[in-house]
């Protein structure tokens, strides 16, 4: 089983920070705890939360810009490694609200959203494309969004002093 094509990071990157659980194996596999299949699912789940947050922000997923992807790979590696650590024993069988284990599982989407909000402008400036710009929601009826016009950069034509979307990127 391989990680999804739209996922970030890799099992090798998670192994690099979780090596102490390998029990003599070179990677997570059917004999380890967690198993290799479980680790792949951890990566996919964290990537899924991240892709959803990216789409909420209007960015094209999966992100392929090589510099921005390093950032995303790193986030998913960290979250997958946290998943792996959660397979270790806790203090008891019952998880209560307020424990870090509970917070992690319930807060994954919120963490992804905060991560995307914090870095999206940088990713856009590095070349990540926006499928849906925030300014699209402000388009007037009958008026073409500036970026969709045929002449937004035609300097032979008079251009507006102000246009929608200037603060998007």
């Amino acid at each position: 089983m391989a990680i999804r094509s739209d996922s970030y990071s890799s099992t090798a990157e998670v192994v690099a920070v979780s090596r102490h659980l390998l029990r003599g194996q070179t990677t997570f596999n059917s004999t380890t705890a967690p198993t290799g299949t479980e680790v792949i699912k951890f990566i996919d789940r964290a990537s899924g939360a991240l892709n959803v947050a990216l789409r909420v922000r209007g960015l094209t997923t999966p992100v392929t810009n090589t510099t921005s992807k390093l950032d995303l790979d790193n986030w998913v590696t960290g979250k997958a490694a946290e998943f792996v650590e959660l397979t270790l024993r806790g203090a008891g069988s019952r998880e209560k609200e307020g424990t870090s284990r509970f917070r992690f599982l319930s807060g994954l989407a919120k963490d992804a959203k905060a991560f995307v909000e914090m870095n999206s402008l940088g990713w856009i400036r590095l070349g990540v494309t926006e499928a849906n710009r925030m300014s699209d929601g402000l388009a007037f009826t009958g008026a073409t969004v500036q970026k969709d016009r045929a002449d937004p950069d035609d300097t032979t034509l008079e251009q507006p002093m102000f246009k929608r979307g200037k603060f998007d990127a």
Binding site: R19, H20, L21, L22, R23, G24, Q25, A33, E85, L86, T87, L88, R89, G90, A91, G92, T99, S100, R101
Partner: protein, 155 residues
């Protein structure tokens, strides 16, 4: 060759030769081995110096009594029951004791070591992770060994 370091190196060789330990899982003072994941049994041994004392034997020779402490670590494994995990530590500790007791001179062929024996063990310590779950259990085994040292006097 005499001295603590040489003796400790001999003891390490004996530990690494045991069935469930190896050069990858038994070290002198390298606790990073616990992060290596290289033991199929989750068992590691880390050697460190204990106390020592010396006693004059003759006008020119001394007997040094050294202690080498072997920390025997077992990683608490989710796929085993609590009892099985504890027994695994006990098995590894016994393996170390049996392996070292075979050698009355720590394998020294230079005839400086007078005697060695496993003298004591400490309580098994539980090491918890940040969630409060058991992650490791560790017990110290102390090997006492003595050797005759003849200093090169400068006065």
């Amino acid at each position: 060759m005499a001295g603590y370091k040489a003796g400790e190196a001999r003891i390490l060789v004996l530990v690494q030769a045991l069935t469930n330990f190896s050069a990858d899982t038994a070290t002198i003072g390298d606790w990073m081995v616990l992060k290596s994941g290289k033991s199929t049994k989750g068992a590691y041994a880390v050697l460190k110096p204990g106390s020592f004392a010396d006693e004059p034997m003759t006008m020119t020779t001394y007997r040094f009594d050294w202690e080498t402490i072997i920390e025997v670590w077992h990683q608490w494994y989710n796929q085993l029951s609590d009892a099985e995990n504890l027994q695994a530590l006990e098995d590894r500790v016994q393996e170390i004791i049996d392996g070292l007791q075979k050698y009355r001179k720590t394998g020294d062929t230079g005839d400086t070591v007078l005697h060695s024996e496993v003298s004591k063990g400490d309580l098994a310590n539980e090491i918890f992770n940040k969630e409060g779950g058991l992650e490791w259990i560790m017990q110290e085994v102390t090997l006492e060994w003595s050797e005759e040292i003849a200093p090169a006097f400068a006065e």
